[in-house]
């Protein structure tokens, strides 16, 4: 077996073992942290599809994270106050059912990504980075100035939404649910990377001229990748909102976009498990360094700087060698 595969398996097992140990020794806070890792990893996996495979440096993925979060917040707040979302032309009621919420988060994330991608992908390079960042800010300010769903204060949901057959209020059960979702997403992205689409997308990232010369349109490949990426990150947003039982405009902030990119980079761009390792590392650092100093972001910044300047393959690159494998 290749070292990266071994490493991936170890990460997956570790991510299961820690909360199970915490469950056995009654440490719900650790379980919550592990759940956070899993959820943020999903957001990173979504971004990695656009960034790692497609080379699209999006600084606006907080949009999709936030759209997913607000999908949950809006639906659940209507269900909790027993007021329908709209009554005309057809009656739409809120819901506390996770599968329904997830579906809408995925659709919402995909639609937002489709529209923003269609506009932003008219450009490349630095323009693309600036534009995605700017659209992120647009959603942020919109969320702040739209009073119907809490505006700046956000929305609190008092009881976690339900999933058939599970008690989602039990930390370990909610962790298991999120972990399952992450595995499905990982599997999907792995299949995607090995598919015809994945090959063409990766080809477009490496050499867009080449892809055009064989008769494929890079714009369409990028747009589909961006849309799928937004859908996945949207899903993670809904899970994250349910973890905290709270949504606020912060989910849309540029810092959130930056953090999602950091997960991907710390782990290793373009690696299937990069975001999982990156998110785990981020949360661990947040708690180790955050315990040391109130100003732990300084250390995070320094670490990020070192990774970018000197260790470009991320943690997986250090542990499993530089080559990205070809299957």
């Amino acid at each position: 077996m290749r070292r990266e595969t071994l490493l991936n398996a170890a990460v997956l097992l570790g991510l299961l073992a820690v909360p199970l140990w915490a469950w056995a020794s009654d440490e719900p806070f650790i379980i919550t942290l592990a759940t956070k890792v899993v959820i943020l990893a999903i957001a990173g996996i979504g971004l990695n599809l656009a960034l790692g495979l497609g080379g699209l440096v999006s600084l606006g993925h907080a949009i999709f994270f936030g759209v997913g979060g607000y999908a949950m917040g809006i639906l659940a707040s209507h269900a909790q106050s027993y007021t329908p979302l709209m009554e005309w032309p057809l009656l739409i009621e809120g819901t506390k059912s996770m599968p329904v919420i997830w579906l809408l988060a995925v659709i919402g994330g995909a639609c937002a990504a489709l529209v923003i991608g269609a506009l932003s992908l008219r450009t490349t390079g630095v323009y693309f980075i600036m534009i995605t960042l700017a659209f992120g800010q647009m959603f942020y300010y919109f969320a702040i100035s739209w009073p119907a769903y809490g505006g700046e204060d956000g929305l609190a949901i008092y009881v976690r939404n339900g999933f058939p057959g599970l008690n989602t209020l039990d930390p370990i059960q909610y962790f298991a649910l999120c972990f399952g979702v992450m595995c499905v997403v990982l599997l999907f992205v792995a299949r995607l990377a090995g598919s015809a689409f994945g090959l063409a997308l990766s080809g477009a990232r490496q050499n867009s001229e080449r892809v055009q010369a064989v008769g494929l349109v890079p714009y369409r490949l990028y747009l589909v990748a961006f849309t799928l990426s937004g859908a996945i990150t949207g899903l993670s947003g809904a899970l994250y909102a349910d973890l905290n039982r709270f949504v606020s405009p912060t989910m849309f902030s540029w810092q959130t976009s930056g953090e999602i990119i950091i997960f991907v980079i710390l782990g290793g761009v373009g690696r299937l498990f990069g975001p999982v390792i990156g998110a785990a590392l981020f949360i661990v650092l947040e708690h180790l360094l955050g315990g040391l100093s109130e100003f732990w972001h300084i250390y995070l910044g320094a670490l990020l700087l070192i990774v970018v300047l000197f260790a470009r393959g991320g943690l997986i690159g250090l542990l499993a060698g530089k080559e990205v494998a070809h299957d």
Partner: protein, 251 residues
């Protein structure tokens, strides 16, 4: 005489005061190799780019199999069957050799929107890809990373990718550049047989190759075609000798 499959009619392209293409006309007929030669800076690359779709001519038209393609994109032209190789190897460098030809095969199939089935196990595509590699003699390198290939092997891979497209016309921009003598000869023999599958518009610096291979030769100087004819006609053409070949012999 049959209609030419590729017909460039009076195209001009200027960059500011520089006339990179000045009323250029040339055509390509079935079964032939038509070589385009000219000194550096004559505007060969600009001309090739206009034919491939990367640049749009200011005036004039380009016809492909009776259709005016002047306004079409690179992608649309590729789909019509314009198989291009690049002057500077333009490949996906992180891919294996096989993945690069698979990309071509995928383009030939006309769409990449299959999301879940593993492409590297797609038998039809693999067959096309391996066949193309075998034809250029790269089958032993299928699993090598493209970045590890020698310069000459990259040239061969360029041709192999073009082959997967089973194009109606080949547009080859200096395929021999940087190849050793042996490599050049192998590729020359191969191109010689390839012309029967699809005609080749060949831009080439290697005069031996051009005079050996080409059925017709056009000479481009300062953005203008000063002569078109068979190898013997071109050799005998005084204008060409003074404008171009003379310089080469002196050099």
């Amino acid at each position: 005489m049959t209609d030419p499959i590729l017909d460039v009619r009076g195209i001009s392209k200027s960059f500011g005061a520089l006339k990179a293409s000045n009323d250029v006309s040339l055509d390509l007929r079935d079964g032939e190799i038509h070589a385009l030669i000219g000194p550096n800076g004559a505007g060969k690359s600009t001309l090739i780019q206009q034919i491939a779709g990367g640049l749009r001519p200011d005036t004039g038209t380009i016809w492909f199999d009776g259709v005016n393609i002047t306004a079409e994109s690179t992608v649309a032209r590729a789909r019509r069957g314009l198989g291009r190789t690049f002057q500077i190897s333009s490949l996906a460098m992180e891919f294996t050799v096989l993945q690069n030809v698979m990309l071509g095969a995928l383009g030939r199939r006309g769409g990449a929107f299959r999301f879940l089935s593993p492409v590297m196990k797609d038998r039809a595509l693999l067959e096309t890809a391996h066949a193309a590699l075998a034809q250029v003699g790269l089958e032993d390198f299928a699993s090598a990373t493209t970045a590890e290939l020698s310069h000459g092997q990259r040239r061969q891979l360029e041709v192999a990718v073009a082959l997967t497209l089973s194009p109606r016309v080949f547009l080859m921009d200096e395929p021999m550049a940087g190849l050793g003598t042996e490599g050049s000869h192998r590729l020359m023999d191969f191109l010689g047989t390839l012309r029967h599958r699809a005609p080749i518009l060949l831009v080439e610096h290697d005069m031996d190759a051009v005079f050996y291979l080409a059925d017709r030769i056009s000479v481009l100087v300062y953005g203008q075609i000063i002569a078109t004819g068979t190898a013997d006609e071109i050799r005998a053409n005084r204008e060409v000798r003074t404008a171009y070949l003379g310089e080469e012999e002196d050099a």
